[in-house]
Assembly symmetry: C2
Homo-oligomer: 190 residues x 2
């Protein structure tokens, strides 16, 4: 489905803004190259009736460059680039756009936040949890415009094997979110 | 300890290499801006005698730019930039350089791998686990050259509160590694 990949110069990108930071630490002059990246939100979605996590699968050029197929499994997520909108509202919009579910803000549970790629980017991601079901679907999901986001229902009973399967690229945020879910449910839930 | 922070242009950085990727997906021509980033290794270090995790704390300019102090708590880690060295050897070297422990390769347990910042970077990180103790210390740690890496012993009994404390910036890989550790130990271990 992916063809004709080639590379070009990346000048004045609105998404990737390299910067050289100069500073003095304990009297020693230093510099460090960073990328200014947008903060983001992500949501662990679980469908109790289907007993499945709802994930998104999409082509990520940066992961393709690492010699993989480029298709990653991720939590529903989006960047924080809309001034004046709360993290919860952005999460709510991403759940509808990417996965097709219309949820109330109240159904979002905030788990925690963390910083990704601290070596060169330091983007802050806030992680939420929400439960969904078919009756809340108001669309197909798949993203906006020409995004090709596939909605994947991962059965709870397959989640452990999925975590160990390194052929299916995934993020550490997804791995943490799954562990968070496992821990808050009794063993006999599974 | 950090003073005199200012910014400059980032041209021909050996660390941050922006690239524009062009490709055709399902017949639609697309482009995406990425940063080519090094792969990395990280190690969850645990000292059974001290009953403490061994973490590193350091100043991260990219995280400072997000309005924090810039000091993050991380697993011992390093980039994969030494051709011909295995991930295990690189991990072993980082454990010595950053934390001062001399470990055999055999003492490294591979946990899994994942991809960070898949939206724009897609760096692959391989996560290990190892146990350490004072008798294995061969140096102070702290990093090489002018790195200012502080070695932090986090008591196991404080790890839960630490995970929830968003005032102390941390990575999702650290959060996942802690959960992995908690799950493999019986409740009465804590």
């Amino acid at each position: 489905m992916i063809q004709n990949i080639r590379f070009g110069e990346c000048i004045n990108s609105p998404y990737v803004k390299p910067k050289r930071v100069f500073y003095t630490e304990r009297g020693i002059e230093k510099s460090w190259d960073v990328v200014e990246a947008h903060d983001s939100v992500s949501v662990l979605l679980f469908d109790p009736k289907k007993r499945a996590f709802v994930l998104v699968k999409q082509f990520r050029p940066a992961v393709f460059l690492k010699g993989t197929s480029g298709y990653t499994y991720e939590l529903c997520a989006g960047i924080v680039d809309k001034p004046g909108k709360s993290l919860e509202v952005i999460a709510q919009e991403e759940i509808l756009e990417e996965c097709g579910y219309s949820l109330s803000i109240d159904s979002l549970e905030r788990i925690t936040s963390f910083y990704t790629s601290v070596g060169f980017a330091g983007s802050r991601q806030t992680l939420f949890y929400a439960e969904v079901e078919d009756s809340l679907r108001q669309g197909e999901g798949g993203g906006v415009e020409s995004e090709n986001i596939e909605v994947v229902h991962l059965p709870l009973l397959e989640a452990r094997a999925f975590m160990l399967d390194e052929e299916r690229p995934k993020t550490p945020g997804l791995l943490f979110a799954f562990m968070w879910f496992f821990e808050r449910h009794p063993k006999n839930f599974f």
